[in-house]
């Protein structure tokens, strides 16, 4: 959710680039709806998102069999509750010609890793917009 919150924070920059953002969950439609609609953590204390209805800025997509996730090589790599039901989080950027131009897993390398991650995604979207 940190990635989503940071992206939501920079929503204006994404819109200025005329870019679209999609968030794919290898989960059923109900869980995808909950992911999109519930401001799970950040609505519980005072912060820039407290009054936002949706924390997730991008279009949330349900991929319950993990098909799209498998095409992109990120499925069934994460073990949660001893079940292979989660994606390994990963960003992809696609340019105006429909070519994949960037792929990267979040580093989760410190308390503010998501700031750098989203700055890189914005820069890659800038290149992809040319």
């Amino acid at each position: 959710m940190h990635e989503q919150a940071q992206l939501r924070f920079k929503k204006d920059k994404v819109e200025k680039l005329g870019a679209e953002v999609y968030v794919v969950l290898a989960m059923d439609l109900y869980r995808t709806k909950v992911f999109k609609e519930q401001n799970l953590v950040l609505s519980t204390f005072k912060n820039p998102f407290t009054k936002e209805k949706n924390l997730v800025f991008g279009t949330a997509l349900s991929d319950p069999a993990g098909y799209a996730s498998a095409l992109y090589g990120v499925s069934r790599r994460c073990l949660r509750g001893l079940a292979w039901v989660e994606n390994s989080p990963c960003w992809f950027v696609i340019n105006r010609k429909g070519t994949l131009t960037y792929a990267s897993h979040p580093t989760f390398s410190g308390p503010t890793f998501y700031v750098k991650d989203i700055d890189i995604i914005l820069e890659e979207l800038r290149k992809a917009a040319r």
């Binding site: 968030v23 059923d28 909950v34 319950p64 069999a65 509750g81 989660e86 989080p89 105006r96």
Partner: protein, 175 residues
């Protein structure tokens, strides 16, 4: 949550095969297997396959299985089957927080008319080929895929490709 890169293709293919093709009798027997991984995948597959006669056995697993992963998959399947609300309520108070969370999702799924299980079943029924696993590569055309938006509308990546720059994030629920 841990990441395991090795073997993901095999896990993906086996999962599709079990969900789509495993014998229902074998899956029902799998609920009583000694191996918790077998009980877990059997519970998940029976829910996706809409095997309502398994509801009683799944409810028993929710109540009594010593392994939380089995209880989680069993209550998840009761949500897909829209059966045994009392077992789902019980799981909301499970000693494991992961099971509690899955039970809250299942409690939401049994409300209303949407057949979430049918949507999952349809997604698996499309199948997958080994050659297609991990085909997305930087410098190559983005592979097309279909999905549903969170409000249930059909989506296909190819309908938006070539128009705008696009970022796609493959997410875990909380990451």
């Amino acid at each position: 949550m841990k990441n395991f890169n090795k073997g993901w293709k095999e896990r993906t293919l086996v999962e599709f095969e079990i969900v789509n093709s495993a014998n229902l009798g074998a899956l029902r027997a799998g609920l009583k297997d000694r191996n918790p991984f077998v009980r877990s995948i059997a519970a998940r597959a029976l829910g996706i396959r809409a095997d309502k006669p398994s509801a009683e056995a799944l409810a028993e697993l929710v109540k009594a299985d010593p392994e939380y992963m089995v209880r989680a998959r069993a209550v998840e399947s009761l949500g897909l089957l829209k059966k045994k609300p009392e077992a789902i309520e019980l799981a909301k108070k499970d000693r494991n927080s992961g099971v509690q969370w899955v039970a809250r999702m299942a409690a939401g799924q049994i409300q209303g008319d949407t057949d979430y299980g049918a949507l999952v079943r349809k997604a698996y029924a499309a199948g997958i080929k080994r050659d297609n696993l991990g085909v997305a590569k930087v410098g190559k055309p983005a592979p097309d895929f279909a999905a549903l938006t969170s409000d249930g509308k059909p989506f296909r990546l190819s309908t938006v490709l070539g128009k705008k720059p696009i970022a796609v994030y493959f997410a875990a629920f909380d990451g």
